[in-house]
Subunit: 300 residues, 2 copies
């Protein structure tokens, strides 16, 4: 189901996929198998990374040392547990983050890595790969502040055009932590008018748990971040002008500049760069886990 063709639920007279449980159930049943931007407005969305337990403490350190790209929300209650969470959010118990949960099925798409190489791309579940030694980690997602931007009259263009957000690799190093070395920041991009940037910064600033304010903006940021080609994102869809043209080849014709936020795909990049052994799983970029708690529960 597309987020732009919502129907009403006969039981509650509420639109479907308006809550975390509805979105997760739709992913679990594979009736929703596309990106989650715009789903369940106001609800937190999360990046997922699932690691062998021997890498867990180093990953917690990686998050503590890089809280902007890797804001750690919660993790499996114990190794192997895919249905209950231990919270890292002060004052919010794991059961309030997501109650009826199956980390193996509740994202609309998954990536699977073996020995740090992607071996399965956007598969519907990871039931066959999950073992009793795996720990799932939830990391905040910038989709979580998109409804605040929309309410302020600044809807992200990718949502307006019903496309996936554009996601890029940068050359900005992460702070290393144990086995996690050599990785760089991943960023998501939303174009905005230059005159709106201070407003966009202010709106997203309180969302510290979901990447917070943008980390760079303007056309000169493309080079500073070491992005090769704005029209060829490494993940997600290519950015377009409102007329459907490639953004980078038309930027002289429009007032908008690229604005970059830290992105929760960063842990997947860290896994690939660090040469982890064994099976690592993650959501497919853009295909997030929708949670029960609200964006307003975590703004500072």
């Amino acid at each position: 189901m597309s987020s732009t063709t919502l129907t009403t639920c006969s039981m509650s007279l509420q639109p479907q996929l308006q809550t975390g449980p509805q979105a997760r159930l739709a992913a679990r049943s594979e009736s929703h198998a596309k990106p989650t931007s715009g789903l369940a407005p106001g609800h937190l969305q999360a990046n997922l990374i699932v690691l062998p337990s021997r890498y867990a403490q180093d990953f917690r350190d990686l998050c503590a040392r890089n809280p902007v790209p890797c804001p750690l929300l919660a993790e499996s209650s114990e190794p192997g547990d895919f249905s209950s969470l231990k919270s890292h959010l002060p004052g919010i118990p794991g059961s309030a983050i997501a109650a009826d949960l199956d980390l193996r099925t509740d994202c609309p798409g998954y990536h699977v890595y073996r020995d740090s190489k992607l071996v399965l791309d956007t598969v519907p579940d990871i039931k066959d790969q999950w073992t009793s030694d795996h720990i799932g980690f939830l990391v905040g997602c910038s989709f979580s502040f998109e409804s605040a931007l929309s309410k302020a009259g600044l809807p992200p263009r990718h949502a307006v055009l019903d496309r996936n957000v554009s996601i890029y690799r940068t050359s900005i190093p992460l702070n290393p932590a144990g086995v996690f070395t050599g990785a760089t920041h991943i960023v998501s991009m939303r174009p905005y008018p230059k005159a709106a940037i201070e407003k966009v910064r202010a709106i997203t600033r309180p969302y510290l748990q979901t990447h917070g304010e943008c980390i760079a903006w303007g056309w000169d940021a493309v080079e500073k971040l070491g992005i090769n080609d704005i029209d060829v994102p490494e993940w997600g869809d290519a950015p377009l002008t409102m007329e459907g043209e490639p953004l980078g080849r038309n930027w002289g014709d429009e007032d908008n500049v690229p604005v970059f936020w830290a992105c929760g795909v960063t842990p997947q990049e860290a896994v690939m760069k660090s040469g982890l052994k064994g099976t690592v799983m993650a959501h497919a970029p853009g295909y997030m886990l929708v949670l029960d708690c609200l964006e307003t529960d975590v703004i500072c």
Copy 2:
């Protein structure tokens, strides 16, 4: 008094400047007016930055978004208060961080900035500049893990040679926060044998509140960090070989490589880059505030 020529205290038969209060009193009386590396072994040392209150919330955000260079330990209990602290360390009250305290006198040297320009370099106190609108912030310092390195048989060379640590500007951007934009990471450097780097990483890793493990290492890191000349640090003393030669011009002759940690001079760089208005004060790099609490109180 040099840290290598400690005498004994007639009252206690303990070497002088072995505790936080002793070190602060010596700075206050100007009997110790040099860098604090090696003073009061095992005690936390802190970077100081003193801001007009209107910049305080953005600075807290800057620290939350950049905890490796800017691990926030404590701040003035209220604007204008230079003698009592509000703690940011879980489980440690402000009075346990430093009880008998005067933020205006207790660093052995201070820098004073006006409208983001350095106007006073390494002055003994800031009594004339401090106002009822100023808030002091304490940020963790990498001197705090140097005794752990020394105990493991890996004493930092600058301490062995009784010099100040070498501190460099890099091109790695900070995550911006409010008024704090355009700043880059500052790093301190200690040379170590290549074979010792994993041990050095492991020893410093638990010190999350005092910059934690090194962020880059090896000669290729010099270029990656955008450091112009390893022999010309922006702050502190130039690094030397054990024979007293410039390190960079002799690195082919020795087994040691530069190892870089995030540095608490970063907030001063952020102030200068962000164009803050008014009077900002800080410790002079290397001339730290020595605290009452112990390094072991904050290791994770």
